[in-house]
Symmetry: C2
Subunit: 434 residues, 2 copies
Amino acid sequence: MSPLRLNKIGIGLIGLGTVGSGVVNVLRENKKLLSDRSGVELEIRRICVKDISKLRAVKVPRSFLCTDPELLLKDPSISIVVELAGGIHPAKEILQKALARGKYVVTANKALLAQESEVIWEAATRAGVEIGFEASVCGGIPIIQALKEGLVSNKISHFLGIVNGTCNYILSSMSSAGADFHAALKTAQKKGYAEKNPTLDIDGTDSAHKLAVLARLAFGAKIPFEKIHIEGIQKISAADIEYARELGYAIKLLAIGKRSARGLELRVHPTMLPLDHPLSHVHGVYNAVFVRGDRVDDLLFYGRGAGMYPTASAVVSDMIAIAKKIHAGGAKASAHPMPAVPTKICPMDETVCKYYLRFQVADKPGVLGRIAQTLGKNRISILSVHQKESRDAKSVPVIILTYEAKEKDLRKALSQIDHFPESCENTAVIRVEK
Amino acid sequence: MSPLRLNKIGIGLIGLGTVGSGVVNVLRENKKLLSDRSGVELEIRRICVKDISKLRAVKVPRSFLCTDPELLLKDPSISIVVELAGGIHPAKEILQKALARGKYVVTANKALLAQESEVIWEAATRAGVEIGFEASVCGGIPIIQALKEGLVSNKISHFLGIVNGTCNYILSSMSSAGADFHAALKTAQKKGYAEKNPTLDIDGTDSAHKLAVLARLAFGAKIPFEKIHIEGIQKISAADIEYARELGYAIKLLAIGKRSARGLELRVHPTMLPLDHPLSHVHGVYNAVFVRGDRVDDLLFYGRGAGMYPTASAVVSDMIAIAKKIHAGGAKASAHPMPAVPTKICPMDETVCKYYLRFQVADKPGVLGRIAQTLGKNRISILSVHQKESRDAKSVPVIILTYEAKEKDLRKALSQIDHFPESCENTAVIRVEK
């Protein structure tokens, strides 16, 4: 074959933190591999940062750095704007301007896509350019591409995702070492797997951002972010993890998107999964997404969901894909990556689930009877009951697994049971998926 | 947004067996979904079959059917030729003609790609058109796209693939039910998971075809098919599976591609994997590919590797991807999907592995000493020794796990040991990966 004619494609970077530094390194260190494989050469021409004097993980020519994104946006030699700054403002405005000027965009900004994707995609469609956002969900796992392209011929019935490595690390070490939540969080922080302020990770917000991006593609539906039900892992106890395992389950923080007769279910919460479910074997900081399509049946994608290089891998693959299209004659974004059809979102109250309930009650005769009666009155059928040894001498844990029940009914039953004089704590509730 | 202008893209199908029927059904039943998502409409215009009168799993207008591929190739209304006939001839010639006439090609033909991919890709590059072959490996799992695009910025160090559902089903049921190979094969045939003549599956040839396709993309190297080392699962005994599990391992038929200091290792053989390896949990007919990239680290792709709909899902996703490009202005195949760089293939003799060895020897004093001595003389160090209870009163199984050793040295040692008067059978050898 004749040698490839290399086209140079100008890149403007916004943000030079961990992922940005990873991107600079990948482009440098894998330069020959990338140009061999793609026939194009990606050249960073300008990098917009908040503070030029800050010490960076990579060395870049001082002349590349600027603090005004406008310098980058008006540079005609830059074809692709790569946004790695995060946050909604000013990222949204910068990307809107970039798109309006016909620049292609690659972004890892899940918060922005979760909350403003329609605005961004409309701007892209208007401008006829593409947006790459593989890095916004699950780092190096090519799940966005799979949903957009590989599974395009499938109607997706549901997906279950372990999409936050911090939470999975904490739950895994609670499970393997029996550590309690706070000790596990501290270890995660020490190892660099949790941030100093870990709130957005452990309260489920980060998972909800990723759920919104995945659901948009999987279901071709506009996802109102505020309708996602979000619970974090703060209330999960080492005891619940142990009891769950005795019953044959693992506890994972899942981002769940599901078509049901009641509409589209969108929820992030700790979930009990049977130990033979592929997601039960996803440990530590690893992420995984389980997808069921009407044609392809069950699929699982597994890998590192965060970190400098896994995320940079996704960013650079998007850059290469776009660069190849520019090289091949400037492909236009022919249509929305997945146009939205009107879809009803199922309110959380209407969701139907199996439940694990741990009642912490005074060890008196008749308590179990009253609990069972109250559940029954609220149309909740009991699958099994397990009374455990007391851990604190004050109360005994009574664990009940239910058949499928409506969230609204469960909440009503628990609001009654939690007011029993024998109830020592609010009931622990974990939803069960299969 | 304004309503999409639908472009009709003409399709010619070659072959209307299981997968072909699946493709016809997916295009029919998911028609609206596909056109909503892609902005194009795929229209089958002609189907080339061997026998027009044969009863089919789907109803198609009789006028679509023909037996002469030329009718399909010369039809100017057909833009994409979808080859699902299998086999090397006449598939190769048909695809060459299709490409020469500027038609895009989608194929599920792993045997053809394993042995003739350079010819096919050169023809495609010359014609400036693309070939989709997602369906050639692991059915519905989008592993081809991941290697071509999602992981483009990675230097892949190795991949391990469970790529044949028949073998994985047999090994899984040998493991869970303790069945012997022949009983497990019979059950697989009864359930439709193995063909009447299962040779190409169980002897590893099918896995080697898929290894060739994956390795071509993962390593950007021309893969001489005849240099792939191929062993099937026929010799695996229920006893070895049990002993392996006692030692903490599962036995899987793996397709292995690995860069090493000695060159590119390409081998298909039964392999012992630690039980905590993600591939150890892949049971039944499921396929999975484990990939390690220098940037993305470990990834796993899991799903159904065969069957009407999983495979049709992959075929249709390729058709849609190509149709969108045609719609967007006829994208040219700008370069080879992964150009080849000269790469040394490591001869099997030079491969370095850990080994599980089961010696079946007469229970006499001194035998173990002679075995150990012979291994030592051939530079093979012993990691552990396990003498098991006799199962047949004639011989005792002695199991030795070795440290890393060279295949050539191992073969030499075994050729000596197998000639010991105390040796009752040829030594069972299973390679160990981590």
